[in-house]
Amino acid sequence: MKMNRRAFLKTTGAAAMASALPISLVRVAFGEKNPAKDFTFAYISDAHIQQIEGSKFVRNWDMGLIRAVQEANLLTPRPDFFFFGGDLAQLGKKEELDHGLEIISNLRGKVYYVMGEHDYYLDLGKYWESKISPLWYSFDHKGVHFVVLTSILTYDEWTYHKWATPMDRMLAMARLDNPEGSPFLVGEKQRDWLKKDLEKVNKSTPLVVCSHSPLQKIYKGWNFWTDDAESVQTLLKPFDKVTVIYGHVHQIQYNQVGSISFHAVMATAWPWPYPKSYVQQANRLPRLTVPMNRADPFFERDATGWQFINVRTGNVDMEYQLPSNENRSVAFSPKTGSPQDSKYQNVNRRVPPQNHY
């Protein structure tokens, strides 16, 4: 792709936006001579469906997922498939997973699932595996190799020998800043599988890896972290174009490590603050134990969202759909060799962090 992102948006994107289509997916030939490989997909994550009791569920989280599903159904041209990026449930309960699946069943198209820690730590993925999806798998689509990992495993000692009940374990993993917590792991068994899986793939094949936690180390206290991230990265690095897409952090993040681009996706449930902006000098704010308050306390979808993605260059262009906020676009820039925000990358246009607490 010779055009830079801005020029691209100005020409193709702007023209597409003005078209008759309700919402425009930017779709450009993957290789100029191979239009069949041009495709898009949509990514919904972190719904945190939460049962109150019986058939009563937290309405706010329900509405977030319902809205994302409804909006994604209005995408045109149609995305080739959908991803759900993990944390469908809040406490891993069968009722929560079933309720979430019922909402997702309205999505018009195939859905691939990624396992989140909120889905896992009650029954260690048994119900998920039986009803929803394998824990790790791969598939090929129009010249791109997709890998799904369960990156939220942890050390056996913590998982199997520390807790009186499965719900104790689940609740411990659901907490931020928990001194009794444990860092996420992909683990040796899965890394071995990944190594074998990738052996079959040509190094020039674009690779998209979907995990729930970031396969990079950002902030340990909130498990914005995978303990064996470097070992996984080592397996991915030989490929020319690698993209890791992760949920868990409920915020926009992007990064480049070697040939690997990292993109986080939004939650449909609630936003988290950036760890750096939250953890500043000592302050007297109460410890963060509940989902953060909205910037706009009235509008409960504020700072949540979902995304659609195109893979036109073999790298990922992430289009964040943010209800009542300005949509954001983070796309791989061939010029700098890393993902860039189409608007806020420019230093002069950045919104400065708040440091006044």
Partner: protein, 361 residues
Amino acid sequence: MLRVGVIAATFVACVAFAEPLGLPPVPIPADNPPTPEKVKLGDKLFNDKRFSATGEVSCATCHDKEKGFTDGLQVSEGINKLKGTRNAPTVVNAAYLKTQFWDGREPTLESQSTQPFLNPVEMALPSHDPIVKIVRTDPEYIDLFKRAFGKTGDKVTMKEVTQAIASFERTLLAGNSPFDRYFYGGEKTAMSPVAIRGFDVFINQGRCVSCHVIEQTQALFTDNRFHMIGSGAKQMPKNLDDLAAAVEEVKKKGTDIAVLSNEKTSSLGRYAVTRDLTDIGAFKTPTLRNVALTAPYLHDGSLKTLEEVIQFYNNGGREKETDPVPELLSGGIRPLNLSNEQQADLVEFLKALTSPEFAKK
């Protein structure tokens, strides 16, 4: 736009009256400072039925002073009783709005007033030419335009016509209600104890104030934003093809004509203007001033009484509790669990928002 302070000075100097209690200074565009002459001319234009295809409809037909500058109908009727799709919003305090029409498709009072003349279900003129012809040749208008703009003949255009109408509309202000006297004027007995209880519901459990804004020194009762509150949910396009067809219609006919001729297209709300997914089915928060006089309610006039409106919000944007929750409902709209008494109190509070000059005698 000039800065507010300057605007107020300009306005007071030119038209020489102050805003009623509870209202901020009226924002005035730099290129259209109001004068008594413009206001007088605008009043006449506003009431002139000749600016319609049948000679029977004026702006005042749907924005009737006796009805709080609305028409009391579910949806407005234009020439030959043709029906649109939307409930006539009041013109009162429209001067403060950041956008005009239920979907905000026009930014100013000046640009707003050009559209109803041409809409086939409103005044249905083939073009603005008949209006221009009348105002250039009618002796009374010749005199009024000369006084207001210092212009005659070919120099008088739709620009002057719309500027005069907008200037008139900027004088249609409503404040000084029992609520204003109670809250801003310090008159503790201006509202009844029931209305005072209703005020508490309004700003607390009812969460009304989140959109119908009340500030420290003024209350416009709108946030100038667009929300999908559940109204029109039944008409909304149910799938992509329907939505694409509705958008196609908007593109083909223009927003004004498309949304007033088709309920389904009308239900797109703000989305017809922005094509932003958040805006599907979202309509502008209307003012609540004189709301007791402006039934029926919501963008489609689907609710007949204030009691029904409160019931609707209490059900989280649904007429009946058993109705499905609209998928794209604004995150702010959720069931309120108000008791019957709280709902009745709220109605009393809303009745305290009627300004004395509009109150039925």
